[in-house]
Symmetry: C3
């Protein structure tokens, strides 16, 4: 139940981010809805396709409804969203943490080793934003700005370390999710970026 509420918050925050970027490109309501929806469910869908299982959003209309509420929110309160930027940043970080932990847990429950689970956790958390940026014809932001997908990897590694030490699964999930959240928050607060490759071969 608690996880479902976090899942709802994460979906809502991801959908808002897609809808806002789409509207900045003058997409119509339908286009904004699609981009919001794909941002929210894209990562989990790629993961489930790679696993050969039915994507979660096809089994439960909550994601469709949640994206519709996000669109309604932006239509009604678009102007006041600027003041809420910090709130949405927190929501987005919560969504990222939760989606990552869900992705890692699902991979492990299917019997995959940890290196696959960490990749799948990162895909679950970060791939939706990549699809969003491809659809609005921008270079994916997560490959260039402050640490984003690396936070997913950090959380996945934390999960792994906890499992090696032998703590309970739900503690692994809690600590893994916290690692994603803290990495993300600290990276943005202190503008921590990964180095770029010196472009000497051009």
């Amino acid at each position: 139940m608690f996880v479902q509420i976090l899942d709802f918050i994460g979906t809502f925050a991801f959908a808002i981010s897609g809808i806002r970027l789409a509207s900045a490109k003058r997409f119509d309501w339908f286009g904004a809805y699609v981009v919001g929806f794909v941002t929210a469910i894209g990562g989990g869908t790629i993961r489930d396709i790679l696993f050969g299982i039915t994507p979660a959003w096809m089994l439960n209309p909550i994601y469709v409804i949640c994206t519709a509420l996000a669109l309604l929110w932006v239509i009604l309160f678009g102007k006041s969203l600027i003041r809420l930027n910090n709130t949405f940043f927190i929501f987005d970080a919560i969504g990222l943490s939760l989606f990552t932990v869900v992705g890692v847990g699902k991979s492990l429950s299917l019997g995959y080793p940890f290196w696959v689970a960490i990749i799948m956790g990162s895909i679950t958390g970060a791939a939706g934003g990549v699809i969003r940026d491809v659809l609005i014809n921008e270079i994916p932001l997560i490959f260039r700005k402050e640490i984003y997908a690396m936070a997913c990897v950090a959380g996945g590694v934390m999960y792994w370390l906890c499992a090696i030490v032998g703590v309970q699964p739900y503690v692994c999930q809690l600590l893994g999710g916290t690692a994603v959240f803290m990495t993300r928050i600290l990276a943005v607060r202190f503008h921590i970026c990964l180095p770029t490759l010196k472009n000497d071969d051009r």
Copy 2:
């Protein structure tokens, strides 16, 4: 048999649209063929991947051949295509209607509820054009111009209403497809667009 002819016409029209947009970007013949093929089969392929079944084009070479004929057509009669713009618009609307109905019907036959079927119908009809626009590095047209994917949704809802009322499946399909077709024709004729989100948060 009648459906197969419509399927052929729809595939041909979708392939032509992909080939023309690719050639406007100076793609070579092979690139134009690939873009045309992906435009024609992309939507159905995404749907079948989400369902975990083998995409239709891998089971029947008709789509490969049909795209080759479309390429040949554009190579031979490229110049005269302008005069046929209205004809191709009608063909495209027929393809959209048919693909949508096929997508809805396939979803229902696999036991999915109507809200999944409507989404799958829209993906079948409209996602090929989105992939096309991503490949030629443009913002997907369907998110900004006259009602396109919304016509698929309208057709899916019509199909649903018919099924609720209890009419025969083939009548549902006929009325659903007609709803797509009419919505699309009327939207273009009267330049009906969905509203865009006011971009206040920039």
Copy 3:
């Protein structure tokens, strides 16, 4: 064993191409790694998803490790890569040849007809580069420059002809791969391009 070494070389060459193009766009290390990885495994992953089987990279960490080595190489020896351009072009052609043959062989072993196998061989060889170009927000190069994906098709057809004549499978593979390699080398050496469509309808 010999094939595994070739597979490693191909993966390495493909990853390098992704990492270099990503770094030219000022992606950070993580972004470059992701683009390199997707370039290397993208084609095979699309093929395996279409077949409904688990992608090879999820079953063996070699691809993850190989991409990490490629990234390390670019970080350490970026400057000297220019002098190695010809070497990498050869590696890339080897990778293309091998990936194509693997794709064709896998399709046939799953019982698909040759026209599907030729398409799948081309996807295995060339689709990774398409995803790479979409991620870095460029029009896919293979649709416009010297013959690239057409070399895969040529190799697939050669494989087919050998099978029709009735030669041993491993000879089919050898001749098919050689056809890809030679087509690619000759196309670049003599700047052989496919014709583009005259853009008369604009």
